[in-house]
């Protein structure tokens, strides 16, 4: 447990996060505890103290929340949980947005090689995982899409940097808009 002066602050943060209806940003936490300096060290220490427990304190997209430890789902899933299946198109579109954000619809279509039906992005927005993120300042000013903190929370990601394989994809140039020039081209029959 946290000792000393921080103890009172840690207790207050615990209670606030426990009672909160939504994950809270640092600014929102500050509004509740008053100006107490940088809250992050206390939150980190608190998160660490909860790590071995069945309840964890986690940061997701800059917002803090309590949730049950991910390995205990089997105790908690009763019959009340019904899994809503995402279509393959929706999963792919979500991945494209998450790894390329902010990204426009024409870019999503170019990557997927197929027109994105309106419903696909709607489903992702309804789930609260995707949001419109301003317009690209190019001709036509197309709308861009990006993921939300709720997306990170849903998939247990601290931030976008946690996206699986993000670094590898970036290194391979697969998140660029254009193919890297130096990519070797073994053109089948011709070169062999």
């Amino acid at each position: 447990m946290i000792e000393g002066d921080d103890h009172a602050l840690a207790r207050a943060l615990e209670a606030i996060l426990f009672a909160a209806e939504v994950p809270l940003s640092l600014a929102e936490l500050t509004r509740h505890v008053g100006e107490r300096g940088d809250l992050v060290p206390t939150l980190r220490a608190l998160a660490q103290s909860y790590a071995p427990r069945g309840i964890n304190l986690v940061e997701r997209g800059g917002r803090w929340q309590f949730q049950t430890a991910p390995d205990l789902g089997h105790h908690l899933r009763s019959n009340r949980e019904t899994v809503k299946k995402l279509s393959r198109a929706a999963v792919e579109t979500l991945a494209v947005i998450a790894y390329h954000e902010p990204v426009t619809r024409p870019e999503i279509e170019e990557i997927r090689g197929v027109a994105v039906s309106g419903g696909t992005i709607d489903v992702l927005m309804e789930a609260g995982w995707v949001r419109p993120a301003g317009r690209r300042e190019t001709p036509g000013r197309p709308l861009q899409y990006a993921t939300t903190p709720e997306f990170l929370a849903h998939f247990n990601l601290v931030s976008r940097r946690d996206l699986p394989g993000l670094a590898d994809l970036k290194a391979a140039g697969l998140l660029d808009r254009e193919p890297p020039r130096e990519l070797p081209l073994p053109l089948g029959g011709r070169e062999e």
Binding site: G73, V114, L163, L174, G188
Partner: protein, 254 residues
Amino acid sequence: MNGTAEFDQPVRAAAPLILQLGSWEGPLDLLLTLARAQKVDLAQISILALVDQYLDFIREAKALSLELAADYLVMAAWLAYLKSLLLLPKDPEAEPDPAEMALKLQFQLQRLEAMREAGQRLLARPQLGWDMFRRPNPEGLAEERRAVYECSYFELLSAYGAITARRNKSVHVVRRRPVMALDEAMERLEHLLGRSLDWTELSRFLPNDLADESYARSVLASSFVAALELTRQGKATLSQGAAFAPILVKARHD
């Protein structure tokens, strides 16, 4: 090319071909499926073999009189064009550069596959509502809106100034009265003095119809000051027998 045999397997094996067609999400998806059948890393893919497989597939579909969406045919035309460019002797002036076109196609396939895998890896992660749970009915945090009032010192003081001024002004407005200006009094007195040669009480030069007392006081004051001023200018002489005795005035002609 042995690609044909490989590609025939999965397509023919599945029940009706039409359903297979519908199961692809566009030509790029079909190309990716065919490329996977080459069983090599996409970076090592033979673009020429892939093009042949795609064109074979389209030919077969046509032979079976299947309805093909236009974009499949557009892709077929494009790939046939790419193939012809790739097989021709290398022309350094060629625009677009066929090698670059092939590179772009390869990049698109790799990228699509990468996103597909990324989607699967996302879905494989612990998910809220399945692996992790939040509190179902949190009490919530009450938010009290507290007003903080703003008022500057200047506003406070000018408000008090305004109140004070308002009180003074309101009194003044009630007592506002007509006055006789000094200029008018001088002109009048000088004119009247010109007609009279003897000492005369100043009060006798005042108008007779002074019903308004405050106007009378103003006239008296202005006329007295006018008399002083005319004396200073050498146009009149003043005389008073004793304190509070009547003031006498006479024109001076020298």
